[in-house]
């Protein structure tokens, strides 16, 4: 068997069978299944948490606005205030809402004993808000048709752009794009952090235990480097496949009709976007794995691996926080610049492509920059790896770097 292949096989099998990998994958699978079945799970836990509110409608017109069923149940009653207060205190009701009309305005009073949850407060507020508008309209003595028209008045903006190559993305597809980009950005962040530090630790421990020296007697340093990158990449790929399958099966089996929702969402995304996301994901992953391998080859023992991955983590974090920031402001200069910087573009360019009217060519340019950087970093790593892998020195990463240079040229 080819030696690189043998190395890949050995490393991959060793890692895929490791308890830590299995546990991590199971954990992610559990998270996905919980997310997919969230509505059903929520029901199980919140079934007993029905909030019952007494509704005293002195205007006698608004009872229909308050639903009798739901998370907050409104029960119309005519009892006087004292009795109500007692019932609220005794826990018969979680609260009492008293609506009174005065000078064409609706006044509302919400009486509680235990402080209500934020969700309850918000539900009550929403309903009171609607009721208040309705009450206002009713005071204008409009016909019911007129009232209806007024209440339902909403304008759909028809966007017309004069630029020829405008992407013509609707705001809905932009919103979905932002959502998907966030999820992808988070996945890139998660995978890169996990696997870049894995490859660093792996090489550092081989170096620390001097296995590397034995390996180097039979294989070339670049074979070793390739073996590590490919096997860890395959490991990450395995995990992604497992998680995607879990998500698909979960969506298909979930009670709520999430499958069609997901399919609808996917339809809103352009084919180019999906390829761009995949491209960025793969290249960013390879770039960081290569850098992780380089860092691992610089340190002398596994204890130093954490220190070595720090710069990579910083870069990833910069990208991720810019992504979070960019979700609301995808057009800021910072996001624009970072979407072309190869270390962060994987997280920011998909966001910009999906949420702004950026042309496809820009995304491809950024992808090309990333690709070229990957090639350069890989070549540099191959050249340096040969020297660093057998050099043991102490001090900061920078000192190690200098030592490798000094002692091998």
């Amino acid at each position: 068997m080819d030696r690189t292949l043998l190395l890949i096989k050995q490393n991959y099998l060793q890692k895929v069978k490791a308890k830590s990998f299995i546990l991590m994958t199971l954990l992610y699978m559990a998270v996905i299944l919980v997310a997919v079945n969230w509505t059903s799970i929520k029901d199980v836990f919140s079934g007993d948490d029905q909030v019952k509110v007494a509704l005293v409608d002195e205007t006698k017109q608004l009872g229909a606005t308050f639903p009798e069923k739901g998370d907050v149940e409104f029960e119309a009653t005519t009892e006087d205030r004292k009795t109500l207060e007692k019932k609220v205190k005794d826990g018969d009701y979680d609260g009492a809402l008293i609506l009174t009309g005065k000078d064409s305005k609706l006044n509302a009073q919400f009486i509680t004993y235990d402080s209500p949850s934020l969700a309850t407060q918000q539900t009550v507020e929403t309903h009171v808000d609607t009721a208040s508008k309705l009450y206002g309209i009713q005071q204008l003595n409009l016909s019911s048709d007129e009232a209806e028209t007024l209440l339902n008045a909403q304008t759909v903006i028809d966007e017309v752009s004069l630029k020829k190559d405008d992407s013509g993305k609707s705001s809905a597809s932009k919103m979905i794009g932002i959502g998907v980009s966030y999820v992808m950005g988070f996945l890139i962040y998660l995978f890169v952090i996990t696997y870049a530090s894995m490859i660093t630790t792996d090489i550092a421990s081989e170096k620390g235990s001097r296995v590397l020296e034995v390996l180097m007697a039979s294989i070339r340093p670049n074979q070793h480097l390739m073996g590590k990158i490919v096997s860890v990449f395959l490991l990450g790929f395995t995990q992604i496949v497992i998680l995607v399958v879990t998500a698909l099966v979960g969506l298909k089996l979930a009670k709520a009709d999430l499958w069609s929702t997901a399919a609808d969402m996917l339809k809103d995304l352009s084919g180019a976007y999906i390829w761009i996301v995949i491209g960025f994901f793969l290249l960013t992953m390879l770039l960081y794995l290569t850098l992780g391998a380089l860092m691992g080859s610089l340190v002398s023992k596994v204890e130093e691996a954490g220190q070595a991955t720090m710069p990579l983590m910083m870069l990833m974090m910069a990208g991720f926080f810019s992504l979070v920031y960019g979700m609301t402001n995808p057009d800021t200069i910072l996001v624009k610049i970072l979407s072309f910087v190869p270390f962060t573009s994987g997280m920011l360019m998909p966001l910009r492509y999906s949420s702004t009217d950026l042309s496809l060519s820009m995304a491809i340019i950024s992808l090309a920059i990333l690709f070229i950087t990957l090639v350069v970093v890989f070549m540099a790593t191959v050249a340096l790896y040969r020297r660093s892998v057998l050099t043991y020195s102490t001090g900061s990463i920078w000192t190690k770097f200098k030592n490798v240079w000094k002692f091998t040229t």
Binding site: M1, R3, L6, L7, Q10, Q14, E206, S209, R210, V211, L212, E213, V214, L215, M216, A217, S218, I219, L390, K406, F407, T408, T409
Partner: protein, 305 residues
């Protein structure tokens, strides 16, 4: 089948690690490379292994540069032990064997043989990290030659071993040599070198102080070590002709002579025609020669012949 180093030099930016060394090792020979820490042994090994380039000079195996050779012909045991702590002993041996281009089928009988020979049969399925240091070292040694190399490099193979395991390792090395394997090894313990090697090279700060036959080296100094048991006192002995210095031991004295020609006269003076229990003239041990060579300035302290 020989390994030949000619004029091999390794220079880094500001120092010379290996300075123009020459030696050849013949087929089926055990050759020792000795020197203090930092003398350039590991660098020499790495150049032979083609892990580092030579700045000058050539390293040839059977007349061909090692840079162009498939490295399966050699095996390497590094100074600091390297095995996968999480891997089982057997798995480990298969992996290293396969990495050198052997098939599982070819490896099986050899692994069986050596595990039994080294008394590791029941450790087969055990993770390497749970083994004792001595056992780890044995596993490592097997891993270095499981692919039947023609040439084996052993960097400090005996360090940290108890006498029983040392003996076991030594007999294994001799067995390999008898099968025609060429062996280059380094050690700090000179008694190991003396016991195993016919020829050797002494390095000091990258320079070769001696390269050649061990017996020749000893003969260069002559039989200048004299051990006696006598009633004479230390000052009396020191005052004798041809005595350089006297060391009292718990069993008499050890005298260092200018040269071995003083022997008969000293025998007369110390024995005075009487029965003498112990009067033994011998070559210096390799340990003593090493200290003389490496301890003094280069090229000095050679015997006055």
């Amino acid at each position: 089948m020989t390994l030949a180093l000619s004029n091999v030099t390794k220079k880094y930016r500001d120092f010379v690690a290996v300075d123009h060394i020459d030696f050849t090792i013949n087929r089926g020979e055990i050759f020792g490379l000795i020197g203090q820490n930092g003398a350039g042994k590991t660098t020499t090994f790495r150049m032979i292994l083609n892990l580092q380039d030579t700045t000058e000079g050539e390293i040839l195996w059977n007349g061909e540069s090692v840079n162009n050779l498939n490295r399966d012909f050699l095996g390497y045991l590094p100074e600091e032990r390297g095995i996968y702590p999480q891997m089982k002993v057997e798995e480990q041996l298969y992996f290293f064997g396969e990495l050198h281009g052997k098939s599982k089928k070819e490896l099986k009988p050899r692994i069986d043989y050596w595990l039994e020979r080294f008394d590791l049969e029941e450790k087969r399925k055990v993770k390497a990290e749970t083994l004792s240091k001595g056992n780890q070292q044995k596993v490592q040694l097997i891993a270095s030659f499981i692919h039947e190399p023609q040439f084996l490099i052993l960097d400090e193979p005996f360090s940290g071993l108890d006498p029983v395991n040392r003996e076991l390792l030594m007999s294994a090395i001799i067995e390999l040599r008898d099968k025609g394997v060429t062996i280059l090894f380094s050690s700090h313990q000179m008694d190991n070198v003396e016991e195993l090697c016919d020829r050797l090279c002494i390095l000091k700060r990258g320079k070769s102080l001696f390269s050649g036959d061990l017996q020749e080296l000893k003969e260069q100094y002559g039989k200048v070590n004299l051990r006696v048991r006598t009633a004479m006192t230390k000052p009396e002995l020191a005052a004798l002709d041809g005595v350089v210095n006297v060391k009292q031991t718990n069993d008499g004295y050890t005298l260092r002579l200018e040269n071995e020609t003083h022997g008969p006269a000293l025998f007369e003076r110390i024995g005075r025609g009487q029965y003498i229990e112990k009067f033994s003239m011998d070559y210096l041990s390799l340990d003593e020669i090493f200290k003389l060579k490496v301890g003094g300035k280069d090229g000095q302290n050679t015997p006055a012949h």
